[in-house]
């Protein structure tokens, strides 16, 4: 028990880092599901593209040798370009792969989403090959930099990830709760037809939803790169699956639920690695999901709404 208590703070820090990334991915899933009732399987691949955009921006700005000018600016630039690029990518995917299917049977956009996911993965593999690439985080943030709390060490990198993720979530909450666009989004999520009749431009709202959700995935991609360094063309699959799990865990379509789900999943996995085994961490995550779903079929924070006809 003492060992456990000593490890606890460090585990919490690691779990929160992982959870922050999952939560950002889960938000995109949840937002899209909220307005379209569509499982966007390509979301994980958008996240992967974000990691790659961040990587290439970093390579372009890092001098091969010599001192680095303003690393903070480089990181901000990586984030912004990745978010912008992914946002645009998300909108393009919506326009070409999902919009024509808006009135099709429900399985059609799902299959189309699988197709998009497959296409993006293999397009990246074709053009950038399947090799691993590494973020050179140590050049941007000195590896020794950390806050010490007795038993635990919070490195600046991890702090950056957690803080950035939380800032993004606060901005998102503001956007959804306080702005007109957010109001429109919530209206579309509740009832698309009624919202359209009240003068909400539904197409525009959907485009914005995809843009914001995908931008968050892009940010998650860059943050993953910064903290875990290794990126590759297939990383979107498992991360997408985790983000999806987190979204479902919290109650899909529910924004605070996605954040909560992400953090719970991150913590669960971190604890599973320490107390069970690293090979079973994904399995533990799924077992948790199945148990939660069996107890609360609509997720932790999912509203218990009666099905309408």
């Amino acid at each position: 028990m003492d060992v456990f208590l000593q490890q606890l703070p460090q585990l919490l820090i690691n779990g929160l880092t992982l959870g922050a990334v999952y939560a950002l991915i889960a938000l995109g899933y949840s937002m899209v599901y909220g307005v379209l009732q569509l499982l966007n399987f390509a979301h994980g691949d958008v996240y992967m593209i974000g990691a790659f955009i961040g990587y290439f921006v970093m390579v372009a700005f890092l001098p091969p040798d010599g001192p680095i000018i303003a690393p903070v600016l480089i990181i901000i630039f990586m984030m912004l370009l990745a978010m912008l690029g992914c946002g645009v990518l998300g909108v393009v995917i919506e326009q070409f792969a999902y919009r024509p299917l808006r009135n099709a049977p429900r399985i059609a956009p799902l299959i189309s989403a699988l197709g998009v996911s497959f296409f993006i993965q293999n397009a990246v593999q074709l053009t950038l090959t399947a090799k691993f690439r590494n973020y050179e985080t140590e050049k941007l943030i000195a590896p020794g930099l950390a806050f010490d709390f007795g038993n635990a060490r919070l490195s600046v990198t991890r702090a950056l990830v957690i803080v950035t993720a939380i800032v993004l979530m606060i901005i998102l909450q503001y956007l959804i709760r306080r702005t007109k666009l957010g109001k429109a989004m919530r209206a579309v999520a509740i009832d698309r037809e009624a919202a359209a009749m009240m003068g909400v431009n539904v197409d525009q709202v959907i485009v914005f939803t995809f843009f914001i959700g995908s931008a968050l995935a892009g940010a998650a991609g860059v943050l993953t790169g910064i903290v875990f360094t290794r990126i590759y063309h297939f990383m979107g699959f498992s991360a997408g699956l985790k983000g999806f799990t987190a979204a479902v865990l919290g109650g899909i379509g529910n924004i605070p639920g996605a954040m909560l789900g992400g953090f719970i999943l991150g913590l669960t996995e971190t604890f599973a690695v320490v107390f069970i085994s690293s090979t079973y961490k994904d399995i533990v995550a799924f077992i948790v999901l199945i148990i939660v779903l069996l107890l609360r079929p609509r997720g932790l924070l999912g509203a218990r709404i009666a099905q309408k006809v």
Partner: protein, 480 residues
Amino acid sequence: MSRDKIGVDQWVEQYDQRVSRAKGIQGFIEQTSRRLPVWGWLICLVVLGALLPVATTNSFAIRIAGNIALMGILALGLNVVAGYAGLLDLGFIAFYGIGAYVYAYLSSDFTGIHFPTWATLIIIVVVSTLFGLLLGSPSLRLIGDYLAIVTLGFGQMFVQLTTSLTRVDLPGRDKPVDLTGGPNGIVNLDPLSIFGLKATTVVHYYLILLIVFAISILIIYHLYKSRVGRAWRALREDELAAQAMGMPNHRLKLQAFAIGAAFAGFSGGLFAAWQGSVFPSNFDTTLLITVYAIIVLGGLGSLPGVVLGAVIMIAVPDILRNAPLAGTLFYIGVIVTLFSVIKPRWQAIVLIVAIAIFGFILRAVLVGANPDAFTTLKPVGALISDTVRSWLPIPNNAMVVGNYGFAILIILVLAVSRIKRPLWRLAALVPTLYLLLFVWETRLVAEPSITRLLFVGVLLIVLMIYRPNGLLGQRRVEIA
């Protein structure tokens, strides 16, 4: 209908018009397929299939054909779950894997058990059905899309468990036990043996798979026509209405799930016997998507569609490995697509000529400006490919340029699909198709394994947009 008839429901009356019949060759095929009974088709299928080993001794071709039959059986099972009952089961491949592993356990030195084939196959069906019920009974209570995530998780769990269960502490054993062989799998499995005859060659397995495929179609066909089959379709169309009609929704779903799992397990067993080994990597997501592509391509719920889908999805990727053949097929495909999509037809001819001229001009300009930067590609030994290869200006760093070309191609294709004016669109198609040929020759033909997956991805998207009901699916009229 020009005039309303009294006492006749218009909606019922016009049923034949709504299930619109295609004309021409397609219509002929559809008409004939309605007249011939299902066993007639199956006899045709088996006889034609059985002629293949007589016609060719090329084991590569027979292997592909066997693979088509195997994937066909697997797709038939998925067709019951996803096509008839409308359940999005993304863990379907796990049942295939369970079948394969059960076969491996019961007929190899790994466990030291060597059961006769018939007993093994029966056990496989029982075990995979049980697993189907086990996964199905809790998860089918979930609403709609939650089923997809839980089953997807189940599929992933299967792959991870088979990879990692290599050192398990079992009660009553001193040392950790290797349960699955890990990533190295289980090898040296016994071959199938029926009535004392051992299946050893590709041809044997091909014939077995062909016959099993035909029998499976027959079973599924009768299932489809049965009371349960009708209930499934009602469930798929409108769950609430079906329930209101007194259908036991949960039990029906569970039945579909279990039957699908049984078929998957059975085909998995055959697969393990044929390959002679099982590895966790045999059961990854690529296979899942391929099987979904098969049933979606042919039309969800359509039996001839499964056959067609299996032929296309398995044969095309394998053909892609052979560069000359792939090239010829690709160009024929492009030309056929152009002629069937662009109306009137003469515009397609104009387009092809325009691309040729565009290519010559571009070549003259580029090579004229800097002859040192260009080279020629090695001929592959197929007429059309080699002609195109000598006509394209190939830069020295063809791979890099090809990669950029691929990125630009994606943008161009998306842009072209947005152009509304027909003439403008035709004009925009010239550089797009030119670039397509360039990227094909410089990149896609060189990476067959990636190209086939790209092809699957594009196919799924395009098909869903233009024919959400698949190639042979019933064209239903949605009632608003």
